[in-house]
Point group: C2
Chain length 145, copies 2
DNA sequence: TAGGCTTGGTCTACATTCTAGACCAGGAGA
DNA sequence: TCTCCTGGTCTAGAATGTAGACCAAGCCTA
C-alpha cells in the first residue's frame, strides 16, 4: 500500500506526511515556513482567478477588471502588485494616451498553471460531492431531533 | 505546441483557458462559480495546513492545535467545522472523561491530497525564485533612482 | 470651448474576518 | 481543595477587504 501508485507518482499521503515531518522537525519554525507564505498568497481570493485570466493571454488593467466583475480596483491593484513582486507576472506600460498597462504571466507564473489546473479539475469533479455533503450537514444542523 | 505534453496531460494553458471560457460564456455567473467557492475555502490560511496534518493520521482537537502552534482555538474550531460540513473530514467523539474528539480525513478529503501535493511541490521548488524576485522588486522600490 | 469619456490608479469610510485570550463544565490527580 | 486536562464558546480589538468617490491627462463631440 505504499510506494508507487498507478500514475507513477509517490503517494500523496507519504509525500505530504514526509514534508510535514521535515517542516516540524525542530530546527524549522513552521510559523515562518516559506511554503505557507506562498500558499497563503495563492489562497487570497483573487490571485488564482487573475492567474487563470492571464493564462489565456496578456490583459490590460481594466480588461482584467471586466473579466472579474466583482473585484474592486483596490484589490485588483494590490493583487497585481503582489504577483509582480513575486515574479509571477510582468507589468508593461505603453506610452499611449492615455497610457495603457499590460499584465502577463512570467515563466514562473506559467509554471504555476499546471498544479493549479490539477486543483481546479479536482474542485470541478468534487463539487457535486461537496454540495451533497453540505446539504446533509445543514439538514442535520437545522433539525437535530 | 498544443495538445499533449511530455506527461500526457493536456496543456495546463488550454485546460484553464477552456474552463474559463466556459465559465464566462454568458449563461454562467462567474460570481457564483462553485469552483471559486471551493478554492476560496482551500485558500483560507488554515484549511490546507489542517488537511496536511490530518493526512498523516487522525488527530485530536488539541493535537492539531499543537501541530499548528499559531492557530487560535476559534479558527481551529471554525475551520474544522467548515471542513466537516464540506465532507472533507469526519468528527468522532469518544466518551472518555474528559471526552475526546478525533478528526480524520474522509475519502473526499484524501482525494484532495494529490492535487495539494502537486501544489506544495511547486511551492517548494519555486520558493527560491520567488524569494529572489521579491528581493529584486523591493530593491527597485526602495531605490528607484 | 465646454462637457463627458477613457486610462490606471489612489484614498477614505465602512464591513467583514481574524486573533488573542478569558472563560466554562466536568472529572482526575495531588 | 487546588490545579490541570478536555473541547470548545465568547468578546474585544486588530487586520483585512469592499464600495465607491476622486484624480490628471488626453481624446471626441457638440
Amino acid at each position: 500500500m505504499t510506494g508507487l501508485r498507478a500514475n507513477n507518482l509517490p503517494s500523496a499521503h507519504e509525500c505530504l506526511a514526509q514534508r510535514f515531518k521535515t517542516w516540524s522537525s525542530g530546527e524549522f519554525d513552521l510559523t515562518l515556513c516559506p511554503v505557507r507564505g506562498i500558499l497563503d498568497r495563492l489562497g487570497d481570493k483573487w490571485t488564482t482567478l487573475i492567474v487563470i485570466v492571464l493564462a489565456q493571454r496578456p490583459h490590460r488593467f481594466s480588461e482584467i477588471g471586466r473579466a472579474i466583475p466583482d473585484i474592486s480596483k483596490r484589490m485588483l491593484t494590490q493583487t497585481l502588485r503582489d504577483l509582480e513582486r513575486d515574479g509571477m507576472i510582468t507589468r508593461r506600460v505603453f506610452p499611449t494616451k492615455p497610457p495603457s498597462v499590460e499584465y502577463g504571466l512570467t515563466e514562473l507564473g506559467e509554471s504555476l498553471l499546471e498544479p493549479l489546473a490539477h486543483l481546479v479539475t479536482w474542485a470541478e469533479n468534487s463539487q457535486p460531492k461537496i454540495a451533497t455533503a453540505r446539504s446533509a450537514f445543514d439538514a442535520a444542523e437545522t433539525s437535530p431531533s
